[in-house]
């Protein structure tokens, strides 16, 4: 013990490697399993063939090849971006609010996106182009909600509690409007519900392209702030006395996490629990250091959602379970188990 304890907590490179390998394994299995089974060998060779400068014959038929490139791969990439972003945002929210129950929807992002999507579905053009405006409408709603919560929560003496309360109020307010609109337009009920429950099924490369820039920018910003999140664990006063501009750090992290969340929610709908159970599960395994949690939560969240989506599209195949149902169905019992464990550890 002696020597090792006289060192700071760092992210061991082996853990990062394990995280990457887990993600690659989840993605590979997910590419292989489905209505049309693809051999893992074929997939690997086909993917290598796709790299510039490499010419190989995977043996996959033209149909299989197009299933891989046009259906499964974009869906998996979308799943890993959404899952990674939600888990990373959840970890970051928990860090700046010093509240283990914080999740990416804390500032009303989900309610705002829900209202935006509902308005687009109900009042948008009744044609194929509806889908094209639902995403942007959800994105706008999410941002309006987060901004509103932030402004309301920081009027006067800003505390994390006032921010959380503002988020709760804004979410309740927006949800009430959303529910009203939904009830007045029962013919769209199914579409609205289906959006709310979250899905990766309509994924194509266009969705990936639309969220990639924001997810990358947000993730990099959050990764760079991981050490400051550890300082914030001391509370505002002590962090300030250590020379940290707490308000600035909190604002930057909030903006990054909220933008990333809004972007992924706009294409995937409301996928619950990823942002809360993935960080908590990680804490049980790797401890509470944000220097470790932040990078690994992206990898773990990405793997979790890729596997969740695999279950969603295979469990009752050919029908699909909405991804939000899968994550909540497995997430809720898991979450209760963690609460139980922490309570037992505390007594």
């Amino acid at each position: 013990m002696g020597d090792t304890s006289l060192a700071p907590t760092r992210l061991p490179i082996t853990w990062l490697a394990i995280g990457f390998m887990g993600l690659v394994a989840a993605a590979t299995v997910s590419m292989s399993v489905g209505a049309a089974g693809l051999s893992i060998n074929g997939i690997v060779v086909e993917l290598l063939d796709g790299l510039p400068g490499i010419e190989m014959d995977s043996g996959l038929s033209a149909t299989d090849s197009s299933i891989l490139w046009q259906i499964r791969l974009p869906r998996i990439v979308l799943g890993l971006l959404v899952g990674g972003m939600l888990a990373l945002a959840g970890t970051s929210y928990q860090g700046i609010f010093r509240n283990p129950l914080a999740d990416p929807y804390l500032l009303g992002v989900a309610a705002g996106a829900g209202l935006g999507a509902t308005l687009a579905i109900v009042y948008g053009p009744q044609s194929g182009s509806t889908i094209a405006i639902v995403g942007p409408a959800a994105f706008a709603g999410a941002l309006v909600a987060a901004l509103g919560s932030y402004l309301l929560g920081t009027v006067g003496r800003a505390t994390t509690t006032s921010l959380i309360l503002a988020g709760v109020a804004v979410a309740a307010f927006l949800t009430s409007i959303q529910t009203y609109v939904q009830l007045r337009n029962t013919d769209s009920l199914r579409d609205v519900f289906s959006w709310m429950l979250g899905r990766l099924s309509t994924a194509g490369w266009s969705e990936v392209r639309s969220i990639l820039p924001l997810v990358v920018v947000s993730s990099v910003a959050l990764l760079l702030h991981r050490r400051l999140l550890d300082v914030l664990a001391l509370g505002d006063d002590e962090a300030t006395a250590l020379g940290v501009r707490v308000t600035t750090v909190r604002l930057v992290v909030l903006v990054a996490a909220s933008l990333g969340t809004a972007a992924v929610v706009a294409v995937s709908g409301l996928i619950g629990f990823v942002g809360i159970i993935v960080p908590h599960a990680l804490r049980l395994v790797i401890g509470t250091s944000y220097a470790r949690l932040v990078p690994l939560s992206f990898l773990a969240g990405a793997s979790f959602l890729v596997i969740g989506d695999l279950l969603g599209r295979t469990l009752i195949s050919p029908a699909e379970l909405p991804i939000g149902v899968v994550t909540a169905f497995f997430g809720a019992p898991f979450f209760l188990g963690i609460l139980h464990l922490t309570e037992r550890a505390a007594t």
């Binding site: 006289l6 700071p8 050490r227 550890d230 020379g243 501009r245």
Partner: protein
Amino acid sequence: MSTITFENVSVTYGPETVLDQLNFTIESGSWVSVIGPNGAGKSTMLRALVGLTASEGSITIDERPVTAMRRRELARSLGYVAQTPELPSGMSVFDYVMLGRTPHRSYLGSGAGDDLEIVREVLSLLDLERLAGRPVSSVSGGEAQRAAIARAVAQRAPVLLLDEPTSSLDIARQQEVMNLIDGLRSTQGFTVISTMHDLTLAGQYADRLLLLANGRVRGDGSPREVLTIEAIERHYGAYVRVVEDADGAITVVPLRPGRQAERDGATFEG
């Protein structure tokens, strides 16, 4: 080195005046204990100095106004230990002390090359090496206080601000912490400003006591000058006896009302 001056410093919370026109200078290398009854403004004074509470008037460190200093720069001048330091669950003592290096890091950057060395040195200095890998939330009260002081020492700031460093510790742990601070002061040359409830302890270690009451300085001088029966009765409303040893050390003994004889210095019976 690090002379701290308060000039007409006031702090108000709404209609309430917490600090009222404080004026004093704290010499570099001295140990000043701020005493006074609950609500006198002791903690507020430290918070104003470290920039956690807005104040009027002027506070300077070596003639530079603290308001003109950047946050990180201020943190490199003042190491602050809160009254009840936050001990994040799951954080190791090593990582906790390492946070003291924060003011020496750039906003997003990693630390300077000597951070690890400094932290190891501080852990050794404060005899915390064997606890380095333990979660800081799981160590005893005295050890946690030592870890909190270690974090401030790792800041390499010339001034240590300690808000009630001995509260909630048993008598031996109180002594241990005070001896530790005393040792740091003489070996490392710290200027120490502490708020204290225990008047005897305050008087035994500090060179100078500042007595605050109702936000004003009501006494300023050596323990012998400040710790008088009259001052303690007037500002604390406490009934005490003050004993001065041959070497000048002051002991403040609380008395049950009516024991006038003991107060006047007669010997205890039995």
